[in-house]
Symmetry: none
Subunit: 195 residues, 4 copies
Amino acid sequence: MPKPPDATRRSERSRTAILDAALALITESGYAALTIEAIAARAGVGKQTIYRWWKGRGEIVLDALAEQVTAAGPPALPDTGDLEADLRLVVRATVAELADPKLSEITRALTVESLTSESFADQVRDRILRPQLDTIKDRLRGHVRAGIDPDLAVELFVGPMYHRWMLRTGPLTEEYADALVDLALAALRPGADRG
Amino acid sequence: MPKPPDATRRSERSRTAILDAALALITESGYAALTIEAIAARAGVGKQTIYRWWKGRGEIVLDALAEQVTAAGPPALPDTGDLEADLRLVVRATVAELADPKLSEITRALTVESLTSESFADQVRDRILRPQLDTIKDRLRGHVRAGIDPDLAVELFVGPMYHRWMLRTGPLTEEYADALVDLALAALRPGADRG
Amino acid sequence: MPKPPDATRRSERSRTAILDAALALITESGYAALTIEAIAARAGVGKQTIYRWWKGRGEIVLDALAEQVTAAGPPALPDTGDLEADLRLVVRATVAELADPKLSEITRALTVESLTSESFADQVRDRILRPQLDTIKDRLRGHVRAGIDPDLAVELFVGPMYHRWMLRTGPLTEEYADALVDLALAALRPGADRG
Amino acid sequence: MPKPPDATRRSERSRTAILDAALALITESGYAALTIEAIAARAGVGKQTIYRWWKGRGEIVLDALAEQVTAAGPPALPDTGDLEADLRLVVRATVAELADPKLSEITRALTVESLTSESFADQVRDRILRPQLDTIKDRLRGHVRAGIDPDLAVELFVGPMYHRWMLRTGPLTEEYADALVDLALAALRPGADRG
DNA sequence: GGGTAATCGAGACGGTACGTCATGTCTTGTG
DNA sequence: CACAAGACATGACGTACCGTCTCGATTACCC
């Protein structure tokens, strides 16, 4: 019966230091070098303080990212009226992030942990991914032919992108982003079910 | 200058024992429990014999899978004339494999390692993934409207599937497989570019 | 900069267990079988705990012996007034110890390590040997003709003994001990410099 | 029943190369670095060739030394008529050798192995040590008072020397050598038994 | 002078132990 | 009681050598 710690007495200073240290280490040296001991040392914190509040390095990265996202406000998807242009913007941005080794390090970390633990995958999905996917889903509403699962529709945009990133099956360029948007939209467009 | 070992002197007995042990352990206990020491012990082999021929556990799993695939012959995609039916078959099969925790363990392993090492990702792509993707690409030829990158076309089928599997964004069922095929085909079909 | 561990936090339980395990193993199986892993296993201790406080197995044996010696109090050399009788006692005791394979195992260990590392030899000399030699040196005072280096005088007793033990050049018996004392005393006795 | 190899077919070239390599390695890097694999590599020889003819590295060093000694001819102890002067010569020479880290490395090796294996100690004694000690023993004959074991007499010269070398209990200088000879001779001189 | 049996260089093999690293838990003051 | 510090038991890492083994390729002796 390991009783839960008293959250009201938690040190904000330590919490922030840990999150900052984790982000700094992961961008400097990659996820492989991100050990609990390294975080503790860098943050000037005892290891126990980390284990008291997090289950592992994955959760720390997750929290750090969530913090960052919260600070930046909700993900904004422009609504210029031109659906294709708007989607190109987001897809291009995501592709650019994945193409950058430093920037994609956090995504790499979360993906690895998701593959390792189902409950972790659930957390990533609900806290990080869902909000992003939902903005696309909302923007798509009304432009999709009837009978199509909205979740599947969104996956049509992000799935190929992640697949290409993970398995390096091709270049991650703006042209690729545009072609992907083009293709996915063609699938969804009303009247596309029959040539 | 660590000179490479003499492959002609390699012990076939040990090679097979190691590959078998790795597969047995990964299906029994998962990738996390797959340590070099465990493989060595199970295979009745010295650790050095493993390190002599492989760089890490990822490569062993990769070789084991390649062996298996080679034994099973090239992946066969039926060509009944009905493209949609044929694709449903493969996509359903893949979805079923991903839905099974045991069967997907190897895919999980290869994905984690691909995210960890670029050169490993290249190997997975070339030795495992490419042959599979190419059968779809070939089958698709002639049924896709002009100007579409064939690789992107294939990714439209597999990307969403893997994304859903990794991040658990939805159920992996036959209905899902069919819907995915339906949607992807709609995107590719000649005349789909404009409603 | 490998900073030194905090000695005040050291676990007395582990320290003792390690020393005891080392002594038990060395008398049971000899110095060759005394591995760090065996000590750790026998003591129920992690290897790192050993490496944190000792440089190698030699130092452990040294500490164990020092502990034992400390517990037994300072080496007592009787002073009955009969110098020759007193010396026979110590030399006989030492010869008996060297003649016993079990008892001499520790001496063997310390000698091997002394031959391997100069700094180790210094430790053995200062912590173990010096006290023993000094009791002889003190007892000899006043019975030695002028101009003789006291250290050399003491070596005259112990040197031949160890030499015979190490290189097995002859039996280690009480007769030998007595003859050695006889001879060494003859060398030191006032008036011995000229026949 | 591991039948002994046929000595008549032995490769003289390999034998010499191994002995040379062992001596070179031991003087260059010390006994600790003298591994069978290093010798084999340096000598351009297969490991099996070493194991076929020797039991371990100690025996190789022993053979190498014996070879060297044989080449140099039997140890010569001068007989100028002045016993003390003659003994000073040998003792000084031995002390000088022990004082030199490079030169004493072989002695170190043989001593360590002697402490490890009784049968090895016997070999060292019979093949290396005895001839040296016997020259002293012979030279001493006639100058020693009755009733003294000649072997013990010799040990009086070499024992203290080795003891001081092994345990670093004092400097190994010419003055030391002379004082040792002086003292030992005093013990042996006829009429020394009673002041 | 060809057949054959051993030694030879080379190095892969199953092992053991090494010394290091990180894990997650526990312990010891300090604020 | 949270915290910084860090010792602890555990377990895997990747490396170094061990001593045995198997593989052609020279030998060198015998018929």
